[in-house]
């Protein structure tokens, strides 16, 4: 690349008008002909280039894969324990419900029995009272009849 081309490409670069291909050509030419650039410009392109080469540890991939393998094993165990605990909790809930229901049912039956007994007692008392009242009514009727007859005799 000649000086003129390189200068115009550099100008285009700073104006943000170059495409990736032109930038590639520009950066490639910089390593061959450094005269046209200021030291800071050279340093800038060199730093960008060096930064683009930075890499993380090559062991990352292997370590990550073995870590997720371990994690998968852990997850399966966790799933088993999670499900086991869910089943245990469900069983506990069912048993507790059954016990609760039977207790409640027995309590309910006892209450019903007591209420029925109370009802029968009250009914018996009321019947007794009713028969006594009926006896009283009959006697009162006879007495009133006797009084009215006595009145009639007195009048005649």
């Amino acid at each position: 690349m000649d000086f003129k081309n390189k200068s115009s490409l550099l100008q285009k670069y700073w104006n943000g008008e170059t495409n990736l291909e032109e930038e590639g050509r520009l950066k490639k030419s910089l390593s061959n002909q450094k005269e046209e650039l200021s030291e800071s410009e050279l340093q800038y392109f060199e730093q960008v280039k060096q930064f683009s080469k930075l890499e993380m540890s090559p062991a990352f991939e292997q370590q990550f894969l073995s870590a997720i393998d371990k994690k998968e094993g852990a997850t399966i165990r966790q799933l088993f324990f999670r499900h086991a605990s869910t089943i245990a909790a469900s069983l506990l809930l069912i048993i507790a419900s059954m016990v609760g229901f039977s207790t409640w049912s027995a309590h309910q039956q006892a209450e019903e029995l007591a209420a029925r007994e109370a009802f029968e007692t009250a009914k018996h008392s009321l019947l007794l009272m009713s028969s006594k009242l009926n006896k009283g009514t009959s006697a009162t009727y006879k007495l009133s009849k006797f009084t009215s007859t006595q009145q009639k005799i007195k009048t005649n």
């Binding site: 943000g16 800071s40 800038y44 683009s52 930075l54 890499e55 540890s57 997720i68 371990k70 852990a74």
Partner: protein, 171 residues
């Protein structure tokens, strides 16, 4: 997505994601942690990855979010794989580490005065080598915004370089 598919599709992005994270947090260990975290997220969502149209753009967005979350978090501790001990082999080249630290600091100096959008575009274009069209998709910007911000970013960097020539100062 099977483990083999994950290895063939996601792992080639590893270095790009690392450099991207590094250009945000400027810390190699933290950048590695971020990539690890992003990969874990991807692995946990591997069933749904096939439905994603542009997985690379999606990974870049995940990395950016993770990196900014890390910057916001006061603690530098990273979530580990449950209780599994997980550590990288320490870099056994201290001189290279020092060189890299200088390089990272220089990139930080270049970027720190740029507005966030210009920084993002600069990272994707200069450091990761994405085209304007790809940047549009990753950052959800229109063509004009990408072009204008790239122009402004480069102009600011150019004037900064000129200052260096004139004054021989870093800032």
């Amino acid at each position: 997505m099977t483990k083999e598919q994950f290895t063939s599709v996601i792992f080639p992005l590893q270095q790009k994601l690392y450099r991207y994270a590094l250009s945000i947090v400027y810390d190699t260990a933290l950048a590695e942690d971020i990539v690890q975290e992003v990969f874990l997220k991807l692995w946990n969502k591997r069933e749904g990855l096939a439905a994603i149209q542009n997985i690379e753009a999606w990974c870049i967005r995940l990395t950016r979010n993770a990196a900014y979350d890390k910057l916001k978090a006061s603690s530098r501790k990273v979530e580990q794989l449950d209780s599994i001990a997980y550590s990288f082999v320490a870099n056994s080249f201290p001189d290279r580490e020092a060189e890299n630290a200088d390089l990272i600091q220089s990139i930080k100096d270049l970027l720190q005065d740029l507005p966030e959008k210009q920084q993002e575009i600069f990272r994707l274009r200069e450091l990761l080598g994405y085209s304007n069209a790809e940047i549009e998709e990753i950052l959800a910007l229109d063509r004009n915004q990408v072009k204008v911000n790239l122009f402004r970013a480069r102009q600011k960097i150019k004037s900064k370089l000129l200052q260096l020539i004139n004054y021989g100062l870093q800032k």
